[in-house]
Amino acid sequence: MGFDLNRVIRGRVWKFGDSIETDAINPYYRYPTMDELKQHTMEVYRPEFPAQVRPGDILVAGRNFGCGSSRPGLVLREVGIAAIVAESVARLFLRNSISRAIPIFVAPGVAGIVEDGETLEVDYPEAVIRNVAGGASVPLRKFPPMIEQIFECGGLPEFARERYLREQALKGQPPMNADARR
């Protein structure tokens, strides 16, 4: 399913520090199923997180969020995180999030404008992150059009399939082995 970058996201903030690693986000070696992961994600930094996170909450982090192994943060979407906003994001976590259409935004300065539990607003069309109560804001970095398209398609595998179908159609061949209806 595609992700609509143009929808404004507003939610309660869970705030984390710098260099949060993917072992903490997605400790799949110890908890191999998604059900288990949901009960343990981020617990090494905030033991109360898995039990108290609510759908629609926003995760705010410092610099280098998602460093370490290349592992997607699908579990954060599963527990209801509506957006991740960080001072900076480790390169592979950023690629992982883009390629699975998980809303992630780089906004240097964000850790300075919001405290844990406050309400934050992510306004992608206006390229701004706002603290709803206090009014403080920082700019967010927009993505280039190709990456916006990946979000629109719902991720890179879906983007790949659309390209494949388009190319097959151009060749005048039936889309062999690709279910056009999904």
Partner: protein, 426 residues
């Protein structure tokens, strides 16, 4: 327009044919794609999820896809055996030519052992430590499994052309490896993300003195400081290494004079003490003397960072006439069968076992909670890649990262010590 190595790499591979400049987004042609144990996801699961009802319809070039089932070799459970069986079927169906599924070892080391990476190539892998092939001048980087799905179909992928940071290494190579100390020193002094999204270009008067093993350690750890590429130039040592393993032609990368660097960092190793990273982050670095006296339960040498001949050779050399401290588990895991055999032929394995070390089958196990778990309150000092909380089992265990010499000294003393105090004449 003078270019960095990364700009040159992505210019050569840019599908649009335009020169690539730092900051540009490009779609690039891929020379090689390495899939390790997570191969089932890009090769199969994602195809179904995306709507290819019979799986991936093709791979773009069956000669350029390399599948190496490393983390799960030998398999540790039936579930993983089933996953390997699925990958084996898909590899046959798709006609993939290079498949290592019955050989333990770390995929990255095997890619280099078997000459599957050449200077100047753009190589991707679905593992963060793919960046290590920069040691032989390859533009190599980790990508995600979804990225790999796209690469398998098209042999193309988007990249942002990185800014480059020049890391100038100077001084004299001592008689033992110090690559780990160097990268820890850099992370400690410049931050564990000093190269976030950037390309590192290693240069300086120390580089010609560095073994390929040491270069592999430095490039592999590029990802621990955020790097997209971690490149050495191509010199005589590179050519000797590569030409002994492949007869494929290649075109090395070299930076132009006057290329633009976002930053330059200098390190003179003559003034550098032995370094350790304390729990639980790579950048939590101090000179070894500040961790002295920390009792340890386990010591390790292995992984894609430090499982190479020179890492194991220094341990064996230093253990001569000494014993591992009573109660300390000293695990040593060569990075591949090739490295294992090299160590065996040099007589190292015998020395290690006589001194009380355990030799573990090549693979990724010692760097993960797979082989050698830690219990609550236990302390491990390790020449592997990461020291995150819970990385070796209990989140209440503590992991220190260090070079193989410092690890060996700790294994003998039963506590962290300065190797210069333990081993006279260093």
């Amino acid at each position: 327009m003078a270019q960095t190595m990364a700009e040159k790499l992505l210019t050569r591979h840019n599908l649009s044919g335009n020169p690539a400049r730092a900051g540009d987004f490009v779609e690039a042609k891929i020379d090689g794609a390495m899939c390790h144990y997570h191969a089932a996801e890009p090769m199969h699961d994602m195809a179904l999820e995306a709507g290819f009802k019979d799986g991936l319809p093709r791979v773009w070039d069956p000669a350029r896809v390399y599948v190496l089932l490393d983390h799960h070799q030998p398999t540790l459970s039936q579930k993983l055996a089933d996953e390997n069986a699925l990958i084996r079927r898909e590899v046959a169906r798709l006609g993939i030519q290079c498949f290592h599924d019955s050989e333990p070892g770390i995929a990255h080391q095997m890619m280099l052992d078997y000459g599957l990476v050449r200077p100047g190539e753009l190589v991707v892998g679905n593992d963060s430590h793919t960046v290590g092939y920069g040691s032989v001048n390859a533009g190599a980087t980790g990508i995600t499994r979804a990225d790999m799905f796209y690469v398998l179909l098209y042999g193309e992928l988007w990249f942002q052309v990185p800014e480059s940071v020049r890391v100038v290494l100077e001084g004299r190579q001592p008689s033992y490896p110090i690559a780990k100390d160097m990268i820890l020193y850099l992370a400690g002094n410049h931050g564990d993300d000093f190269a976030q999204g950037m390309s590192i270009e290693y240069s300086g008067s120390l580089v010609p003195q560095l073994s390929i093993d040491s270069r592999m350690c430095l490039s592999t750890h590029g990802v621990e400081v955020g790097a997209k590429f971690a490149l050495f130039g191509s010199d005589e040592a590179t050519h000797r290494f590569v030409k002994a393993r492949t007869d494929q032609p290649y075109e090395p990368l070299a930076p132009d004079a006057g290329a633009h660097y976002a930053n330059e960092i200098r390190l003179n190793v003559d003034e550098m003490p032995f370094m350790v990273a304390k729990p639980h982050q790579f950048g939590n670095v101090t000179p070894v003397d500040e961790a002295r006296g920390t009792r340890i339960n386990q010591a390790q040498i292995g992984s894609c960072a430090n499982g190479r001949f020179e890492d194991i050779e220094i341990a064996a050399r230093m253990l001569e006439g000494k014993k591992v401290a009573k109660g300390v588990r000293f695990l040593i895991s060569p990075a591949s069968q090739h490295v294992y055999l090299q160590c065996l032929k040099a007589g190292l394995i015998e020395k290690l076992i006589e001194a009380g070390a355990q030799v573990i089958t090549p693979g990724c196990g010692v760097c993960q909670p797979r082989v050698g778990f830690l219990s609550d309150g236990e302390v491990c000092i390790t020449a592997t890649t990461r020291n995150f909380k819970g990385r070796k089992g209990s989140p209440k265990a503590e992991i220190y990262l260090a070079g193989p010499l410092t690890v060996t000294a700790a294994a003998v003393a039963g506590e962290i010590v300065n190797p210069k105090e333990m081993f006279r004449g260093l």
